[in-house]
């Protein structure tokens, strides 16, 4: 069994670099997408154990991506961890209503990200 594969959908390159690095170190395979359309296309074509999804994505935003995932029978069970900004309670409620599996509030700690991803993606090699 290979490593669990995680997709990070985030448009800030520096955040992507750090997230990729810490998830790699925690034993995950990491793939990245920098806009919503690309993220949706990627999860439709490839098997992922979890998606880390930013809300403020260019083009198709995080809500739209999540909505499309939840209405797609094949993807409905994919764990999606949503990145929201501190103080944006409305975003969080909205993502909760659409079916987010977990939330991480920016600015987050790296340990928090690893803990959520490990729990939802079934740990290393847990696919």
């Amino acid at each position: 069994m290979g490593k669990a594969r995680i997709l990070i959908a985030e448009d800030e390159q520096n955040i992507v670099e750090s997230l990729s690095f810490i998830l790699n170190r925690a034993g995950f395979d990491v793939d990245t997408a920098t806009d919503g359309t690309e993220a949706l296309d990627r999860v439709r074509r490839l098997p992922f154990s979890a998606l880390v999804l930013d809300i403020m994505l260019p083009g198709m935003n995080g809500f739209d991506v999540l909505r499309a995932i939840r209405s797609d029978q094949k993807l409905a069970a994919l764990p999606v961890i949503v990145l929201t900004a501190k103080g944006q309670a409305g975003d969080r409620r909205m993502a909760e209503a659409i079916g987010a599996s977990a939330f991480i509030t920016k600015p987050f700690s790296n340990a928090e990200v690893v803990a959520h991803v490990s729990r939802l993606a079934g740990g290393v090699g847990g696919r």
């Binding site: 800030e12 670099e17 750090s18 900004a85 920016k106 600015p107 987050f108």
Partner: protein, 490 residues
Amino acid sequence: MARNLTGLKIRALRRDRKLAQGELARRVGISASYLNLIERDKRAIAGGLVDRIAAELGVERSDLDGVAERRVVASLEEIAADPELASGGGHPGPAEDLVGRNPAWAALVLRLYQAWLDQNQAVLALADRLNRDPFLGDSVHRMLTNVTSIRAAAEILEADDALTPADRRRFRSIVATDAQKLSGTAHALLEFFNSAHMRVRSATPAEHVDAFILATDNYFPELEAVAADFLAADRTPDAAKEKLPDASSRFPPEATVAERFETRRFRLLKQALQPVVAEPIQALVQSHAALVSEESRTLATAALAAYAAAAVLMPYEHFLEAAERWRYDLDALSRLFGVSYEQAAHRLATLHRPGAEGVRFAFMRTDASGYVTKRLPLPRLPLPRYGNACPLWAIHAAFQNPGVSARGFGELPSGEQFLFFARAVEKRPSSAAAPRHLLSVMLACAAEDAGRVVYGDGIDLGKAMAPIGTICRLCPREACGHRQEAPLIT
């Protein structure tokens, strides 16, 4: 039931003049015990006696009859009923006692309350400004992004001893570049807060006009009198007397200049009234304490000119009689008086002549985006100026079916119940070349008055009371499915 204040006023003035009860009684030809009963409001006081007492105390009769004081009492009762201030402490007792014994303190309490309301509005305005300003929203987002990036990279640098030199350089560089971006954003924010346009006034000119309208009860006897004289002299200009023209000329084809017949007539009438109303209007706006700025006086002048024109088109007694007879049916009233739906609705919100009052209505008008373009609040029904009204109000539903009344009962978190009815009307005749200009006009009255109003008919009051708010930010109904924003105070 409001108590009579005459007795309390007599006692206060008598004491002020260091006059014994027996002495005043002797001078006006009544017994001391009778005066005692009058002063304690245990006996009504006849007109002739009021005049004699007023003469002995050296005041005008109008100083004793208590009209102004009754207004103060009503305002104090509103304070006592304000759910944010009452907080279960029980009613503080009759406001008449305070007004009668210590009018200066009563006035001070009212000023304090008004200042508190103003400050609340200022806080709301500021919160709204901060929430809605795209520059601020964008800056905060950028700062959060930079901080997130810096924190993640810094944690990697701190925690991971086994970093390759290349990774170490990479994450150091991320910290450095994002720290630089962060300071740039912080700098721009500081500039923004320092710039002059960020100043928030505690009250806008429109709010001063609101205060003016509330203080005067939106009823202006001076202008009603001018309107009555104007009608008696039949000085209405021919153009404004025009009967409804036939359909072909009613909607001229030029889309941009088209004006409704009723709007045109109203405008012409305002012009014709100008020479006779200018002076009384100036006297009203110059003397009123609420109108503190030139801008607020200009706004109030325009509102009063419209008031006078409405008083000519819909003379008080006739309009009130028709309104009661047709149970406030705005279609019937606009047909009878040849005015627009909105003009009739606005006039209904002015029927406050003491002794000849109609149902009390709040009036509100918004465009399709919810922007409030006109408002006349009721003391217990605050109408929003900042932020949109509760989406459950009829004023929004009216846009779904223009020309048709949307109506319903609603209960505010304070427990106050109201009947709301609204209609979206076209501001000017529409044409293919221009988008339809719809405005929703809403009236609201206390639920207990709904029986007098045709718009309350056929609704089962027991079942149809919807839990509503004023605006999301001030509404404590946390579980409401229509909530868009978290409440400011929980």
